[in-house]
Symmetry: C2
Subunit: 384 residues, 2 copies
């Protein structure tokens, strides 16, 4: 075995509790399940999963995915409105290539997922942040912005938002879709946390409004099965399906993930995905309770937040005068880390916010991490 | 089982012999080998292949790939100069996003791979075709074009070209690299057929000139293992590695193929790739002989071509007055198909050429296909 070179994305010091890690820990990943799926599928005398696949994605897989989503979204999903991607990031990148040009204006939420901003930067798009509140995108603020600017698309994380955890209510979803039709812009809805709802069912996925012709809904197995599979989907109206699967990338390379989608088809058809998702829900529900209790006990009214009802994140507001990047620097000495709020801002704001993920660590580590955070906070001069 | 919807890329009538199919038939694909690799890897208590992977690609995989390439290229390859892609098409798409803007001029060979032209069209690039001859790109023609135009990049298939089968000699490779440095353009070398050399060793891969800083070499497991894995690599100088793995797509999604690259690592480390490649060479060598003999017997001096020494394709020149699209329409009635030359032209030319792939069919079908082609040709009016 070779251990003298870096092998995984995790660059972290194992002694540090990094609340920045927005992915599950190894113990939570479905290794045994994928072993069983691979054994079952690869024993079949059918090599089609090794061929260039159908550009839209394997039909059997899309059929199984449509059945799964119809059940989980409690809405009928047509397999012909699903396009198989190699993850939400790849889908977002492809949409930027096909639907935008450098210099185009796009709207994002303030705050938004900071790595989406990196993809938009590579496509040289001009990003305008739109205000949000505890219920997600502020539709009045959107309407005001539309009076001055005509965006090509709006990128939104409508359910259990990253980082804020906010979920857009049905009435705002309806107004948003109406505005997109009226002002002729696309809604790219990153709904990767939609199926990670631990309490009440969320409002209908924005993807279920795809008949409007203005909505492209992005889903991913990264959050509900395993990031390393690089498997996701786009749900949209037929004209967008055609645009995606007749692109040069698809025409040349064939389907984006024939091999892993064939294995995940087994996971879906055998009902293993439902069972695994139930396990994730139970685990994350418990971690939220642990982190919530620790934050109350250690930090009390020094932080404010809404306890998340889904997704991966707590979004904490600190006292106005406190810059979370200052706290982050101090936190290094106490072996704890997190993502400072400014990373999620489209305009350099949100300096008194911080994002904590509860997906990576078990309860005891979450509690220890909060203790370290409190110690780091206590060590700051009283003036900040 | 559901059979009422389309499931794979193969839209073909099974009764048609389609020389257009540029991929191996199912029987040639390494299903048993991938079954063994998955069983071995997924039995290990190591879930790292299910995580977001290192952006540049898993280190163990790149280590194994560098060892394999060093042996097969007979040149030392540094694992830090390898970036893991999800196939050559995806790599080409990413390079277009990061290195070009709509309206930029790029140079391609005339003829070139027609689906690469589709990717360039999605990025709204202006394509200038440069002449080739039996030894590939005409460097004098390139030099003349450089006097008038400044391309962002040149896209070239230097070894066993698709469609022509031509291989660029060492002296032309050296002149090409020197010109790229002098005129400051990138060479994107699509070298997916380099390891499919059935006779003498080809000249050094263009990727081995990466120290120039102007060459990005694209490789892929699609041609040497299985297209459905969606696994390839870019070999380039460190500054290009950094540009690729710090892009928004990678920063957000992590490595492009952690799961399948972990399985293919087993294939490489166990020496199975070498054995499989030897089998491919023997098979394709035999198919070339079969197709060559059939063409001589059935079509004689009605077609002209150089017998390929590698890759997948015969590139046939028909009589000047014959348009291969006319022949293609006629061929449908005789249950045979191919790719007409005009598809590979950047300027609507090459109408008296046709491309035949020998990768998909076994010897007897190749012979039968040529008989059908001859009958189709015989059925055309004498004037064409």
């Amino acid at each position: 075995m070779h251990t003298h070179f870096q092998t995984t994305q995790s660059h972290a010091d194992p002694d540090v509790i990094d609340f920045g890690a927005g992915h599950p820990g190894d113990a939570l990943l479905p290794l045994t399940l994928m072993q069983a799926a691979a054994a079952q599928r690869l024993a079949l005398p059918d090599a089609s999963l090794l061929q260039y696949g159908l550009e839209q994605g394997d039909g059997y897989f899309r059929h199984a995915l449509a059945a799964f989503l119809s059940r989980r979204y409690a809405a009928p999903i047509d397999m012909d409105h699903l396009f198989v991607s190699s993850g939400a990031s790849q889908a977002l990148d492809l949409i930027c290539t096909l639907y935008t040009q450098p210099g185009d204006v796009i709207f994002v939420e303030e705050p938004t997922y900071f790595l989406a901003l990196r993809i938009f930067a590579d496509h040289r798009l001009k990003v305008t942040p739109i205000a949000t509140d505890a219920q997600g995108l502020d539709i009045d603020a959107l309407e005001a912005a539309l009076a001055n600017q005509r965006p090509k698309l709006l990128y939104i994380i409508p359910t259990h938002q990253n980082p804020s955890g906010a979920t857009l209510p049905l009435e705002r979803r309806q107004r948003l879709v109406a505005l997109s039709m009226q002002h002729n812009f696309l809604i790219v809805a990153d709904e990767v946390y939609h199926l990670l709802s631990y309490a009440a069912a969320p409002p209908p996925a924005l993807a279920t409004f795809a008949d409007s012709g203005t909505v492209l809904g992005l889903g991913s197995f990264s959050k509900i099965l395993a990031p390393g599979l690089r498997l996701g989907w786009v749900q949209a109206a037929p004209q967008h399906m055609t645009r995606l699967y007749t692109s040069g990338l698809l025409d040349s390379g064939g389907g984006l993930n024939p091999f892993t989608s064939a294995l995940v088809r087994v996971v879906l058809e055998e009902g293993w995905e439902d069972a695994y998702l139930d396990k994730l829900h139970a685990t994350y529900r418990q971690r939220i309770a642990a982190l919530d209790a620790a934050l109350q006990a250690e930090l009390g009214d020094r932080v404010h937040y809404l306890t998340p009802a889904g997704g991966y994140f707590f979004w904490l507001r600190l006292p106005d005068a406190l810059d979370s990047e200052t706290l982050l620097q101090r936190a290094a000495a106490y072996k704890v880390s997190f993502r400072p709020g400014v990373r999620f801002s489209g305009c350099g704001g949100l300096r008194n916010y911080m994002r904590l993920s509860f997906a990576f660590y078990e309860d005891a580590q979450l509690r220890e991490g909060v203790r370290r955070l409190r110690t780091a906070l206590d060590s700051l001069p009283a003036s900040v």
